[in-house]
């Protein structure tokens, strides 16, 4: 059965990214949308689009029944789940298969095995990968507080409470001492239930000042598993990645190969197919520990694409339709140059990163050499309150890390979003931090630095900014008043001879 039309069970930038791959492969696309997303870019980009009706994720992008109805109605023969929403939901993958649809991702049993952090951990142990000490079974909502306390004490403090079904820092809490455990578990369970529909959590010993490094891999249905050069994702705010890069700075070839081997072994042990990522913690001595597996495409997949030249989404589709991986394993592990990604959020970094949904009233997106723009929004779009606040991803490539960093800074200077605050000023600050420039990263450094700064603005307003704003305000008020009285605009008037001469005279002074 040839694959002709793919339903993209997602929204925003990742839905657009997937549709681009479909277009390039000559495949039809079907979008789904909530009420507030009717004018969203992913809806208008699709060949066809169908309403989910409603807005809350639980009424829309998490509704398996509605999505399968639309697949049937539209004649789609495959489903790409993107990331988030139903991407790691084995019931959705199973329902797709039962409806006769190709699910572009691993099989439901592998999602179940690797999606649960606890069974994934077992799988990693069985494959010989090192793991961080932690609970062996999920701490489900029916486990009483006393038992919760006993389990945590056995793991030891500081520890992390994490959602079994989690990802993206949601449903995750750090607990430094026994006293705050029960509260943290309650919040994590509630967040996990809201975000993933599953309140189960687990505990894991906290590695101090760890780096978060992950291995992307592709696995076909014929037993070939290819691990890729690592991604460094240590720049995190409250366990949420904000900047990712590939390759990791200060990372030896030997460490890369050992980590890639460990990741491939886990994937093979799990019977993994399609694209997936194995996340590791790396401690100060370069020892690494299996953290979890993401059984889907990741937000940060473009940095891998930029340094290896491999289109991961096209390969997801090719693998799903049964093709063999023909990539060179050596090339997948050999980075060409360096790539950095900034996740642009509709948040006000100077107001403790408060989400700031609202209408984008003006927009200028960077371009030119080494810049890739993966955006989910356009001018005029109202960023809704219901979903994740990420609106776009900006990726910069350079022959080395420093060139990539300088290109990113150049591109950030070209980027303008009007109407709502975004995290762009934060990135301009972050990329100039000495520790970032040196590549000395760990997952705790950003939170520590933010606490130290106590709300100091990321890009301070200088006198030059104030003066330009003053001139702009005065000029625009003046031009508006003049427009109201005259029909013609100033710039369109013909230049008189003497005026031209006077100007040239001024220039020649």
């Amino acid at each position: 059965m040839p694959m002709k039309t793919i339903l993209i069970a997602n929204r925003g930038e990742i839905a657009v990214r997937i549709m681009r791959a479909c277009r390039e492969m000559g495949l039809g696309t079907v979008a789904i949308y909530s009420d507030v997303d009717r004018e969203a870019r992913h809806v208008r980009y699709a060949d066809r689009a169908f309403p989910l009706v409603g807005n809350a994720p639980s009424d829309t992008y998490l509704r398996i029944d509605k999505i399968l109805d639309i697949a049937r109605l539209s004649g789609a023969d495959a489903v790409h789940p993107g990331y988030g929403f139903l991407a790691e939901n084995e019931a959705f993958a199973q329902a797709c298969l039962e409806a006769g649809l190709t699910f572009i991702g691993p099989t439901p049993d592998v999602i179940a095995r690797m999606g649960s952090k606890t069974t994934a951990r077992d799988c990693a142990i069985a494959a010989g990968a090192p793991v961080v000490p932690g609970t062996q079974t999920p701490v489900t909502p029916d486990v009483a507080d006393a038992e919760v306390q006993r389990l945590a004490d056995a793991v030891g403090y500081p520890l992390m409470v994490k959602a079994v079904a989690g990802g993206g820092g949601k449903g995750m809490r750090e607990v430094r001492e026994a006293a705050t455990l029960v509260d943290a578990v309650r919040t994590a369970r509630s967040e996990a239930l809201g975000a993933f529909g599953d309140a189960a959590v687990y505990f894991e010993r906290r590695v101090l000042r760890p780096r978060h490094v992950e291995i992307q891999l592709l696995a076909d249905q014929h037993g070939t598993v290819i691990p890729f050069v690592e991604r460094e994702c240590s720049v995190q705010r409250r366990h949420q990645k904000v900047i990712e890069e590939s390759p990791a700075p200060r990372f030896s070839d030997d460490l890369r190969r050992r980590m890639a081997d460990a990741a491939a072994a886990v994937a093979r042990a799990a019977g993994y197919t399609n694209a997936g990522t194995i996340e590791f913690l790396v401690d100060a001595d370069d020892a690494f520990y299996f953290l979890e597996m993401n059984t889907r495409l990741q937000v940060e997949h473009p940095v891998t694409e930029m340094v290896t030249g491999v289109d991961l989404v096209q390969w997801q589709i090719r693998i799903a339709r049964g093709e063999r991986l023909t990539l060179s394993p050596e090339q997948a592990l050999t980075p060409r140059g360096h790539a950095i990604e900034c996740r642009v959020y509709a948040e006000d970094p100077d107001q403790r990163f408060m989400p700031r949904p609202g209408r984008i009233t003006s927009l200028a997106v960077p371009g030119g050499p080494g810049i890739r723009d993966d955006s989910g929004v356009e001018v005029g779009f109202e960023v809704p309150i219901y979903y994740d606040s990420m609106i776009s991803k900006l990726i910069a490539w350079g022959t080395d890390r420093e060139q990539a960093r300088c290109r990113m800074l150049r591109a950030l200077g070209e980027y303008h979003v009007g109407g709502i605050p975004t995290t762009l000023p934060f990135f301009r600050w972050m990329l100039e931090q000495p520790a970032f420039i040196r590549g000395e990263l760990d997952t705790t450094m950003l939170d520590a630095e933010l606490e130290r700064r106590a709300g100091e603005p990321f890009v301070p307003v200088t006198d030059a900014h104030l003066d330009a704003a003053l001139l702009a305000t005065a000029s625009s008020a003046f031009l508006a008043a003049r427009r109201a009285t005259h029909a013609a605009l100033p710039g369109t008037a013909a230049r008189s001879g003497w005026a031209t001469a006077a100007r040239l005279g001024a220039l020649r002074k």
Binding site: P355, T361, S362, Y387, A468, A469, L471, A472, S476, R495
Partner: protein, 168 residues
Amino acid sequence: MRLHIEQGGRVRQVTVSSGALPGEVALHLDDTVLVCDVRDLGHGRLSLRLPDGSMRDVVVEMDPIPGHRTVHVQGVRVPTMASTRVRRGASGVAAHAGPLRIVAPMPGKVVRLPVRPGDRVEAHQPVVVIEAMKMENALSAGRAGTVREVLVQEGMSVEAGRPLVVLE
């Protein structure tokens, strides 16, 4: 045209007139005259050329409050207020006295209200928690005070700009 422009708590008087050349605007500011080449690119976008040849692309966004603007300059947002009349009493940007209204900075749902009327709160102590975009956001007062009024209830959906709590 005479304007009173307020930025960061400071008010400056500017007199604006047409320059000698097309596109030029002369700004009289204190004792100086700055002749800038200003082009209106539409939709609030302006291209400024300063007297030394420096280029500034700016975007002037009109805020909902009359006279208030957000001016984007080189990636920085500068709140600015312009008025043709002298404002009486406390200035809009620099106001500090009197009751403090904590308003919703974005649309969302009130999920927690940790204070009640009469409670004493410290600066930076959370007074309302709003959920938006899957995140809980604690709103706090910039200064210490006493809660005079709580204008919303837990579970309520609120629009951006809606007053939530009044301190005095």
